[in-house]
Amino acid sequence: MRETYRRTIRFKLNGRPAIAQIATHETLVEVLRRDFSLFGARESCGQGLCGCCTALVNGIAVSGCLYLAAFVDGAEVTTVEGLALGTELHPIQESFVANCAFQCGFCTPGFILMTKELLDRHPHPTTDEIRHYLSGNLCRCAAYPDIVQAVQAVAGRE
C-alpha cells in the first residue's frame, strides 16, 4: 500500500471527457464518488452480488465495487446521473416513478442501469427475460413486482 502504483486514466463519463489520478487497486465506484461526486452507484455487498454499484462501461453493466477504475481508461462510462436529458428523465426513470418501483431507493440506480442494458439489447423482453436479466440486482425492500411492471411498461417505448 505504501508503494501504491498510481496512474492517470482518461475516459468518457456521461458523455463528457474525464480524467482522474487513481491508485491501481481502486474500484470504479470509489473513484466515481471521490473524484466526481457521483453517488448513484453505491457499494453494498462488496462482492458484485447485489447490483447497487452498477455502472455501464461501453454499454455493458459492470459491478462498480469489483471493477477496477484502471479498466475504464479509454472507455465510455454511464452512471444513473447521465441518463436524464437535462431536466427530462429517461423513459426508464419515468417508468420507475410511474410504477412506484422502489421503496428506500438505494438499489434503484442499479436496477435502472441494468434495465438500460437489457432494453438496448432486447427491446421487447418477455417477463421471464426481465426476471433473468435483473436477477443479479437485489432489493431488500422487495419492490420486485413493481420493478418488473416498470420494465414491461417502458419496453418498446424507448
Binding site: F39, G40, G46, V80, F96, F106, S135, L138, C141, Y144
Partner: protein, 798 residues
C-alpha cells in the same frame, strides 16, 4: 386493580383532538400519492448518509474479536501504527479515558463502545484504525493483534438460561428507562435479562377441563436485516464544545440522548441528523456505530466516518433466534380452553432492545385467540452470539410461527378445517386479550374472510402427483403496537405561504414523508406534493421516540395532524383579522383561505396582511402520547397495553419436490389491517415487501454458526430473495378497519406483512407431504431429512 390504575405513573393523555372542518375533506388522505422523493430516487440524487464525505475526514476500520468468549490479555497496536498513513489506533482503554463508563444500550447499559477486559462474541469490536485512506485503515486494522484467554462460551438460548451455564455478563446493568428491569439491577450469575409473565384465569383448571392437550416446541434460527445501505455514521466537531453526528439511524432522538449521557453533556451540544435510509428494518435502531464514531471524533479532533461492510452487518445486530414451547388444551368442539407458552429469546452478547422484544412479543404468544386460562412466560437470554434486536415485527413472527403451526396441528387432529378452527377461537371486539385489555377497533373475521376468498378456500385443490406434491395453508397473527411512546411535530408556514413539516420520523423506504405530507395537506387544504418534509435533525426537528414498531403513521401522524391543526387555526385567525370576519366563517381549501362570502386569500396574502410583507412564520406544534397502563409485574394485566392492535393473515400454496425437498411457493397472499389507509398503494407495497422478506426468512435465510463464528457472513453464502425466488402469484391485501384515534382512522402496517408468512408456508408444506417441520428455515435439506425420517429411511448425517 382499580387503585393501581389510578396510581399508574403512565400518563393517560387527552384523547386525540378532532379537527374542526366544514368541508368534507381535502382528498389528500386515502389517496395513492406517489412518493414525494420519487425523482431523487431515480436520478441518483437522493441523499443518504452513505454519500457523505467531509473535508479532512478519517475512515475508521474495526478490528474484531476472533473468539466468542474470552478475557483480553493484551492488545498490540505497534504494527498497525507503523503502517504509513495511519492516523491513530483506538482501543477500549482510549475510549475509557474520554468516557469513564463507556457502556451503552436502550434496555441495559451493557455494551462497551470497544471491548473492555472481555469479549463476548466473535466479531465484537475491539479496536479501530483511522486513516484518510480507507485501504490504509483496513490494512492497519488487520495488523492489530489481540491476545485472549478463552472462556467457555454458551450459544443455545435454553442452555444459557440454566443455572450451570457459563455467564456472559458478570453483573447485570439495566438502564433506568424501563421500570420492569429494575429488579435485575446488580444481579450476577445469570444470563436471563428479563422474564416477563402473563397470567389469566386458572391454567391447571383449564387443562383439567380440556379434552385434548397438545404440547409442541418450535424453533427458528437467526437471520439479519441486511439493509442495502450499510450501517454508516460520520461525526464532526461543532465549534468548541459541540458534536454533530450524521448517521443512518432510525432513532436520531435516542442517539442524541444516549451519546449525551455517555459524554456527560447536555443534549443541546449534540446534534444528530439523518437522511433517507437505504433500508432499516429495525437494524438501524438505538445505538449502532454512533457512540464509537463520536468517541473517535472527540479523541482525534477530526471528522471520522465508519461504514460497515456487508460482512460486518452480520456481527452487528440480528433477529432473535427463539425457542417457543406451547401447551394448549382444547375441548372436543375445537375451542381453546387453556394455553401455556414459554419462549426463550437468544439475545446474543448484548441486550440491545431484546428484553422489550421478549416482553412485548411474549404477551402476544396466546395469539389472536379468546382463551380463558393463560400463562405466558418469556425470557430474554444472553449468549455468546452477535447481539439480537428489533427486526420488523419485534419478535412477533417467531411466536406466530409457533402458535399458528400448532393451530394447524390441533385443527388436523380434531379433523376441523383450519379456517373454521380459527373462526371458532378468534378474539372479537370487546373481548379481553390475554393481557386483560378489551379488544377494540379490530375485525379478525374480515381478515379470515379475505383470506378464504383470495385462497379460494372452498374450491377443490389440486394436490399434485408423483414426486411433486401440492398443499396450502393459512395463518393469522397479532401484534400490539409499541407503547408508551411520544412524538412531537411542527408544521411551518413560510412567508410565501409554502409549508414544511419538521418531524423526526425517518423515511427508510416505508413512505413516511409522503404519509406525513398527506396528513398535513388534508388539514391545510393544500396538495401533499406541495409540502416539504424536513428530515430528522435534532437541532431542528422535535423529539420522536423512534421510527419503529409500525408506530409512525399513528403516533407521528397524530402529532403532525395536531401541528397542522394548530398552524391552520393561527392562519385562520390572522385571515379573520385581515378580513374583519369571524374565524368560523373561514376555511382552508385549494391552497387558500376562503370565506363564506367567497372572498379568497392565498396563504401568502394572509402572511403579507399580518407581517406587512412576505415575511414571518406560522409555527404549528403538535405532540402525541397515547394512553397506556403499565402491566402488572406478576400477571402482565393492563387495561391499556397498546394504543392499537395490528392484525394480519397469510395464505400460501406450495409445490414440494419429494426427491429434493425443495419448496416452491406458488401463491402467497398477505392480508393486513391498515385501518383507513392514508396511502393505499404504499400500504399494499409494504405488505408485499414484508411478505417477501419473511418468505426469505422462511425458506432459505439463516445465519450458520460454527463454535460461535458466523460462517456465511456474505451475500455469496447468505442469500436474500431475488427476482427468481419469488412466488409468481403474490398479493398484498388491505383490510380497512378504521381506528377511532388513528389519524383519519389509520393504523400502522409496516410489520404486518411479516407476521404470518412462515406458518402459512409450513402448514402448506404439511398439507402437501404430511410432514411437520418445527424449525425454520424450511431448507430443502431440512425438508428432505424430515420426509425421509417419516418414511423411515433417514438420510445420513455428514
Amino acid at each position: 386493580m382499580a387503585s393501581r390504575y389510578t396510581e399508574s405513573t403512565a400518563k393517560v393523555i387527552e384523547p386525540p383532538g378532532t379537527t374542526r372542518r366544514k368541508s368534507p375533506g381535502s382528498g389528500q388522505v386515502k389517496r395513492s400519492v406517489r412518493r414525494l422523493e420519487s425523482r431523487a430516487k431515480v436520478d441518483g440524487s437522493a441523499e443518504y448518509i452513505h454519500n457523505l464525505i467531509l473535508p479532512g475526514m478519517l475512515y475508521g476500520k474495526i478490528a474484531r474479536s476472533s473468539i466468542p468468549h474470552g478475557r483480553i490479555l493484551s492488545i498490540d497496536v505497534t504494527a498497525a501504527l507503523a503502517v504509513e498513513g495511519v492516523h491513530a489506533v483506538i482501543t477500549g482503554e482510549d475510549v475509557r479515558r474520554l468516557i469513564p463508563d463507556p457502556y451503552y444500550g436502550p434496555a441495559f447499559h451493557d455494551q462497551p463502545i470497544l471491548a473492555l477486559e472481555k469479549v463476548r462474541y466473535a466479531g465484537e469490536p475491539v479496536a479501530v484504525a483511522l486513516a484518510s485512506d480507507p485501504h490504509v485503515a483496513e490494512e492497519a486494522a488487520d495488523l492489530i493483534s489481540v491476545e485472549y484467554e478463552p472462556l467457555e462460551p454458551v450459544f443455545d438460548e435454553v442452555a444459557a438460561a440454566k443455572a450451570d451455564a457459563p455467564i456472559v455478563h458478570d453483573k447485570l446493568r439495566p438502564a433506568a428507562t424501563f421500570a420492569d428491569l429494575k429488579y435485575l439491577q446488580g444481579q450476577s450469575g445469570t444470563n436471563v435479562a428479563l422474564s416477563a409473565h402473563v397470567r389469566r384465569g386458572d391454567l391447571e383448571k383449564g387443562f383439567r377441563e380440556s379434552d385434548h392437550i397438545f404440547e409442541d416446541t418450535f424453533r427458528n434460527g437467526k437471520v439479519i436485516h441486511a439493509p442495502l445501505e450499510p450501517y454508516v455514521t460520520v461525526a464532526e466537531l461543532a465549534g468548541a464544545n459541540g458534536l454533530t453526528i450524521h448517521t443512518a439511524s432510525q432513532s436520531p432522538s435516542f442517539v442524541r440522548s444516549e451519546v449525551s449521557r455517555l459524554l456527560g453533556w447536555p443534549e443541546n451540544r449534540v446534534r444528530v441528523r439523518t437522511a433517507f435510509l437505504g433500508g432499516g428494518f429495525g437494524g438501524k435502531l438505538y445505538i449502532k456505530l454512533e457512540a464509537l464514531v463520536a468517541a473517535c471524533t472527540l479523541l482525534v479532533r477530526k471528522p471520522v466516518r465508519i461504514a460497515l461492510t456487508m460482512e460486518e452487518q452480520f456481527y452487528t445486530i440480528t433477529k432473535h433466534g427463539a425457542t417457543v414451547r406451547l401447551k394448549t388444551g382444547v375441548n372436543k368442539d375445537g375451542r381453546i380452553v387453556a394455553r401455556e407458552a414459554e419462549t426463550w429469546w437468544n439475545g446474543g452478547a448484548y441486550a440491545d432492545i431484546g428484553p422489550r422484544v421478549a416482553q412485548k412479543s411474549g404477551f402476544t404468544s396466546a395469539g389472536p385467540y379468546d382463551i380463558e386460562h393463560i400463562a405466558l412466560e418469556s425470557h430474554a437470554i444472553y449468549t455468546n452470539e452477535p447481539p439480537a434486536g428489533a427486526l420488523r415485527g419485534f419478535g412477533i413472527s417467531q411466536v406466530v410461527w409457533a402458535y399458528e403451526s400448532q393451530a394447524d396441528i390441533i385443527a388436523r387432529a380434531l379433523k376441523m378445517d383450519p379456517l373454521e378452527f380459527r373462526r371458532r377461537n378468534i378474539l372479537r371486539e370487546g373481548r379481553p386479550h390475554a393481557t386483560g385489555m378489551l379488544m377494540t377497533d379490530i375485525n379478525i373475521d374480515a381478515i379470515l374472510d379475505r383470506l378464504a376468498e383470495r385462497m379460494e378456500w372452498d374450491r377443490p385443490f389440486d394436490r399434485g402427483s408423483g414426486t411433486i406434491r401440492r398443499g396450502r395453508g393459512i395463518a393469522i397473527g397479532i401484534k400490539a403496537c409499541v407503547a408508551p411512546t411520544t412524538s412531537v411535530a411542527m408544521v411551518n408556514i413560510y412567508g410565501d405561504g409554502s409549508c414544511g413539516i419538521c418531524c423526526s420520523t425517518v423515511d427508510m423506504g416505508q413512505g413516511s414523508d409522503t404519509a406525513m405530507a398527506q396528513i398535513a395537506a388534508e388539514i391545510l387544504g393544500v396538495t401533499a406534493e406541495a409540502i416539504r418534509v424536513i428530515h430528522p435533525d435534532t437541532d431542528v426537528t422535535p423529539y420522536d421516540m423512534a421510527t419503529l414498531g409500525s408506530r409512525s403513521t399513528y403516533h407521528m401522524g397524530n402529532a403532525v395532524r395536531r401541528a397542522a391543526d394548530d398552524a391552520r387555526t393561527q392562519l385562520l385567525r390572522m385571515a379573520a383579522t385581515a378580513l374583519q370576519t369571524d374565524i368560523d366563517e373561514l376555511e382552508c381549501r385549494d391552497g387558500a383561505v376562503i370565506a363564506q362570502s367567497g372572498t379568497r386569500m392565498t396563504f401568502r396574502d394572509v402572511m403579507v396582511a399580518r407581517f406587512a410583507m412576505q415575511a414571518g412564520n406560522i409555527i404549528g406544534v403538535g405532540s402525541f402520547i397515547p394512553p397506556y397502563e403499565k402491566p402488572d409485574h406478576d400477571t402482565g394485566q393492563s387495561r391499556q397495553i397498546t394504543p392499537f392492535w395490528m392484525l394480519g393473515g397469510a395464505g400460501a400454496e406450495v409445490e414440494v419436490d419429494t426427491e429434493t425437498g425443495r419448496i416452491q411457493v406458488t401463491k402467497l397472499v398477505n392480508v393486513g389491517d391498515a385501518g383507513s389507509a392514508i396511502n393505499p398503494d404504499i400500504v399494499e407495497r409494504q405488505l408485499i415487501g414484508a411478505g417477501i422478506m419473511q418468505f426469505g426468512f422462511t425458506i432459505f435465510e439463516e445465519m450458520i454458526f460454527s463454535d460461535g463464528q458466523v460462517v456465511n457472513a456474505s451475500f455469496a453464502d447468505y442469500k436474500i430473495p431475488g427476482m427468481l425466488d419469488l412466488p409468481h402469484d403474490l398479493t398484498g391485501e388491505l383490510v380497512e378497519v378504521p381506528h377511532q384515534h388513528g389519524p383519519f382512522g389509520a393504523k400502522g402496517v409496516g410489520e404486518t406483512g411479516m407476521f404470518c408468512v412462515s406458518p402459512a408456508i409450513g402448514n402448506a408444506l404439511y398439507d402437501a407431504i404430511e410432514v411437520r417441520i418445527t424449525e425454520m428455515p424450511l431448507t430443502p435439506e431440512r425438508v428432505l431429512r424430515a420426509l425421509r425420517q417419516a418414511q423411515e429411511q433417514p438420510l445420513e448425517r455428514d
